[in-house]
Amino acid sequence: MTKDKEANNDRRTFLRQTATATLAGTVPIGSRAFGAVGIAVVAATSANNTHAADTSPASAPFTGYQFLGPLEATFVETMVNIMCPADQYTPNGVDCGLANYIDRQLAGAFGQGEGRYMRGPWKQGKPQLGYQLPLTPAQFFMAGLGAASDACTRKYGKSFDQLSAADANTFLQDLQANKYADPRVPLASWFNDLIYPLFVQACFADPMYGGNNGKTFWKLVGYPGLPATHTIDMVQYRGKPYPGAKDPKSIVDFS
């Protein structure tokens, strides 16, 4: 664990240095995209990261992104830090592992479309009949990210990671409310049916999957996790605070 924490801290330090270097204009052009990741992280984490110190949340082993390239990582890190700002409840989204979770899901079986019926012909229909595109979730993610980035630039004249926190939040709300029409990509569906569920899962799935670092969100709501043998608790804590809710246990704790 200590080693992982160090590795994570090393990465943060590295990103901050890169960001600084980028701003100073001393990094070669080839590294520019990666530098942008640093900017996003700095902008969203350093400014308001008072909470991290007391809960040691950044304990998940961040080992690099498997799926996200620098541009996608910039977008996702900015987004999860807007949707989950550092506040009195949790550290910011990146420190909670939310970007890490989304990366792992897109890289894995979910992203590759496991369990989805993928035979043609392909037609669009009523929303109640569900997703009907011939794209895997990972492919849809990429298509939507491109369209969302374009929409952002059209509206604000700059990229998503360069927006103020308030503008970035408004931009996401407008995506959710179907206020951006892309000629090809259904952006509201992209946000509501793919991105938002991934965000919620990142917060509340077992930390084994790379999000919910330190069981932060389980602690937030008071979900005790495993192993849940509650035959006696059922009577003893009916209508009363359940002590185990303060110290949840995950699959990781029993593996």
């Binding site: 369990g115 799935a205 605070p241």
Partner: protein, 586 residues
Amino acid sequence: MATKLDKRTIVIVGGGLTAGLVARQLTAKGIEVLVLERGVDHRAGAGAKLPNQRDELRWDTRQGLIQNWAVQTYSLRHSSGEESLPVRWMEAFLPGEGMGGAANHWNGHTWRWAEYDPILRSHYETRYGKGIIPANMPLQDWGVTYAEMEPYHDLFEKLFGISGKAGNIDGKIQPGGNPFEAPRKNEYPQKPLEITEAGLIFKTAVEAMGYKPFPTPAGNSSGAYTNPDGQKLGQCQYCGHCERFICEAQAKASPEVLLYPMLLQRKGFEIRLRCHVLGLNYDKQGKRITGVRYVDLVTGTEYEQPADVVVLGAFTMSNTRFLLLDGVGKPYDPKTRSGVVGKNFCYQTYSGVAVFFKDRWINPFLASGSTGTVIDEFNNDNFDHAGLGFLGGGGIGAGVFNGRPIANRRVPPGTPAWGTKWKEANAAWYAHSFSVGAQGSCYPHVDNYLDLDPQYRDAYGQPLLRMTFDFRENEIKMSEWVTQKIGAITKAMAPDIMGPVAGRKAPFDTRQYQSTHVTGGTPMGADPGNSVVSPHLQHWDAENLFVVGASVYPHNSGFNPTGPLSALALRLGDDLVSYTQRPRML
């Protein structure tokens, strides 16, 4: 070219709950049974062992125990005038795969339906007159009475160690039980599960309103239990991982705990796993099924398995599809309202109202799949429908079944979808909220039916089953009326915050889970003109073919479907003992 195997006495398609019950009756009498099941034995897998059993993302969100939609899904249109599309990832209902079928991952609610459910058409016409049932609602009697099914309900409840409180023993109303319950010979084999805090709040409110609350009858074992076959259940741990999960504590009555381990020890029982059935060999002239075609998924070999008797014991949807694929029986046609296969396809009509109590600790994670407190006053025809303009109703209850946090958190209306306010609301209300819901009936409609999709095919190259389904006027009116009753109850509970009070609306949405209670498609009845199978579940057009499961229900009631279909399966087992001795129309 399929390899032809040696003939077997009884071949059952699908290794789930009904197959296990039918096989129990037959093998006890020394009659050999072969079950063909496409899935695996989950008992030693990650889904049945700690710690991975408690993985909401894997088993719930990603549907780890559910039918693989990439291989086989269903298409949908809301009316016969529309074009269908395949449901590429289904959330609404969840068929299982593997030994035990969907009954491995069920929640455990085990109802006997109303005494009048099997004679529903006669019941409504007797009470309200001939004109009460609309022409577009093909309700029909089942051709079997509750009294005939009662001994099999009793047996099933003993085999599955059901926990509950009787409301009506031999016509005598029992305090604490459901006064609308069909008369039973015996009390439930086990005492009810513990009540939840939400159940206590609900109970206090509805008792003050003059209603009679009672505990949901549960397949989640309230104590350690040994059934009449010597099979054992552990005591429920109230872990909140029932529906969509296998119970690692063997405390949820399931076929892979109570039936298959025993059957596997019995002489004459065989289950072939990873064997996907492709169809029935139908001798139309001789009105017989000569065998079953399947592909062994491990070797890739296709086989023909001849049989004296074939039982379709697959999921509701598959039972109908096999008959349509091989032309056994006349497909239903909504234009002429003739034909029977695919007819009377029904679902369930849910609605609910969220309530928030800042000073009450609901602790949703202290729960089992059936920890519910319910009332039956507004279910089915337990109230006077004169002048209401709809038929049917729903059971109303406070069911807290789990606190799994990805999918089961409530926040007050108006809460933002993310950000600090969202976190604040989750922190404030997760342990302090629940829903009061109605499980509403769904009666048949002439334009709700199943047939083969003309365009889309599964991974084996066979047509998908197409649903033509929506919530029709009757169900929408019923749901609104019942939901207003919920609203009156939740208001009386005086919560700090209450969610919107609104009944179920059309269109049917495949993206939202409701329940896995799809029913019909192969309705039973005494008249071959409106039913696929006889009151003994025997196919009218193939004497040695029997169909069992929720597919035989002519309508869906305001209850979970497991109880009656299990009683019918046990009765079918006994009927087949007789049939194998002397084959005939029963």
